[in-house]
Amino acid sequence: MRDTTEDRSYVATVRRGLIVFLIAAAMLAVFNSARLRSAVRDWPPSAVTDRIVLAADRWHGWMEAIGAAALVPAIHDGFERVRRLRWDG
């Protein structure tokens, strides 16, 4: 009986973990599509890679079109301004 309850509990947590990863992956795919595209471009060339690269290019194009791809560069630019600050202004 105890084992069954424990099993149910771990299954629910594992499923919860998986959904968390998938939400995070979706967020990265939407807002960081440029990085996704450059990652798959580094993969060893093959017919499958070519298709994946094409799909990643197309996906990034869509994200640019809806404005989602602009978020990461905007954050990065803001951060760069802080990073470039000097003691004399």
């Binding site: 424990e6 509990s9 771990y10 947590t13 594992v14 919860r16 973990g17 998986l18 959904i19 968390v20 990863f21 998938l22 939400i23 995070a24 992956a25 979706a26 967020m27 990265l28 807002f31 960081n32 990085r35 996704l36 450059s38 990652a39 798959v40 978020l71 990461v72 954050i75 990065h76 951060f79 802080v82 990073r83 470039r84 600050l85 000097r86 003691w87």
Partner: protein, 474 residues
């Protein structure tokens, strides 16, 4: 395959799903984790998977031998032979070049001409870590700390388990092997804790350690003689902070990943820069190595007898010296170890002889002096740790000694990062656990969004591409 990469993300997602699907079939699960660990290691150089298997087989046979014989002398001989074999393998890959170079320099100094055999040896990534884990297994079996017979599969998985394989933490056999004998489980708190560790590790490595390194440490250490005093002081502190961030980030991610797969690793760093003595700093820094050195080296040097004060000092010094050599085959690491050995002895001796003086100090003032001593010994010795050779380290100290005005690389951003990174070491030790406890009851979507935002923040602020972790080379 580095942790903070897209490829590792895909790899881990697949491992997570299959490992939990196979949860009720222990052998299948272990075989799967073993196969994925070898796949992970093969991404660096598949040829060294043979070395990993050899190391595992050697220690497995050693354990079998120890379980088979009862005579103390035979058991001791087996244990010593297996430890020696481990050290020969480690020594060959890690120290052969250093030994030949040093011998050649010595011959040249004595005016002797000798052509010594030069081999270009590639250092297998993580060799020190898996060798030490193998040694810990054999010695633990010898000492009777591992009671159950260990299967070949369990031992191979213990030595090669991918989260800790290439840069630690050094997992103890007596702690990990029992976890392989029972079904893994995952509760909400462990899940939240694992996620927090992964996000914090990614941020520490890909953002903070990266910018401290590229904006301050690397340019200053390239040519210390051409930099201003403030830049040199800043880079000295910054490097110690960078090593901490880089290595503790790897440990955090490794512990987090293992937790998500149902395994518990012990903490490897515990706010070392908040320590009020050097001895305490070493109890909180790379804890798995410090305790390994204490249990397997210091204890071996001390033996079973009660030791004199002088012998204690000698053993502390030798332990740190060998700890320095473990970090790398170079005189700079040996000097680094010697500095720590001497400073630990000096601190211990001071505590022995300064009872009245210390009582006269208020506890707060005593802690402040202790912190200043520990932090500055650590950061100054780190100059040797970072310098590619003794010449650069000597240049660094010589440049520190002569004042040169101005500041070029120690920007407000870098200075703030250094101060913030030291300041967080004064927070309570369970700060991350508390964050995890608060996250646990959140709705699933909120937890997913927060995890995604954490990774996205590192991705957005960090640079494109990730430098390898510093401890890969050890």
């Amino acid at each position: 395959m580095l942790f903070p990469t897209f490829e590792f993300g895909l790899f881990f997602l697949a491992v997570y799903v299959v490992a939990w699907l196979a949860r009720d079939r222990l052998t299948v699960r272990k075989l799967f984790l073993l196969a994925t660990s070898y796949f992970f290691y093969a991404q660096w150089d598949w040829r060294f998977t043979g070395l990993l298997a050899f190391s595992s087989a050697l220690n497995y046979l050693g354990g079998l031998g120890l379980n088979r014989f009862d005579a103390p002398r035979t058991r001791k001989a087996i244990m010593l032979a297996v430890v020696a074999a481990n050290l020969v393998v480690l020594g060959f890959f890690k120290y052969y070049g250093f030994f030949i170079d040093s011998l050649t320099d010595l011959f040249v100094a004595w005016g002797i001409r000798r052509d010594l055999p030069i081999l270009e040896i590639i250092l297998p990534v993580g060799i020190s870590f898996f060798t030490f884990q193998g040694i810990s297994y054999v010695v633990d079996v010898y000492r009777g700390q591992i009671k159950h017979p260990v299967s070949l599969l369990d031992l191979f998985l213990f030595i090669s388990f991918f989260p800790q394989l290439v840069a630690g933490p050094i997992v103890r056999a007596a702690h990990f092997l029992p976890q392989l004998r029972r079904k893994s489980t995952l509760d909400g708190e462990t899940l939240a804790y694992g996620l927090v560790l992964i996000v914090s590790g990614l941020f520490k490595k890909t953002v903070v350690a990266h910018y401290i390194a590229t904006d301050l440490v690397d340019p200053v250490f390239l040519d210390p003689a051409s930099h201003t005093t403030l830049d040199l002081i800043g880079a000295q502190y910054a490097y110690a902070v960078q090593v901490y961030l880089d290595f503790s980030a790897y440990s955090d991610i490794a512990i987090g990943i293992a937790a998500l797969l149902g395994f518990r690793f012990r903490k490897n760093f515990d706010r070392p820069f908040g320590s009020t003595s050097l001895a305490q700093l070493w109890q909180r820094w790379h804890i798995s190595l410090s305790t390994f050195l204490r249990d397997y080296l210091y204890r071996a040097l001390r033996g079973e007898r009660r030791e004199s004060t002088l012998m204690t000092y000698r053993n502390i010094f030798l332990t740190m010296l060998l700890g320095g050599l473990w970090h790398g085959a170079a005189w700079t690491f040996i000097i680094w170890g010697a500095i720590h050995g001497l400073a630990l002895v000096a601190e211990r001796h001071f505590k022995r002889v300064s009872g009245t003086f210390r009582k006269a100090l208020s506890p707060g003032l005593g802690a402040l002096f202790g912190w200043l001593f520990a932090f500055h010994v650590f950061t100054l010795a780190a100059i040797f740790f970072r310098s590619p050779n003794i010449g650069i380290a000597a240049d660094y100290f010589a440049s520190l000694a002569r004042f040169r005005p101005g500041v070029d690389f120690l920007t407000p951003f870098n200075a703030a990062l250094i101060v913030a990174c030291v300041a967080v070491h004064f927070l309570p030790g369970d700060a991350l656990n508390r964050v995890a406890e608060r996250l646990r009851p959140l709705p699933l979507a909120a937890l997913g969004l927060l995890f995604g935002l954490g990774i996205l923040a590192s991705e957005a602020i960090g640079p494109e591409g990730v430098a390898p972790f510093i401890y890969y080379q050890f």
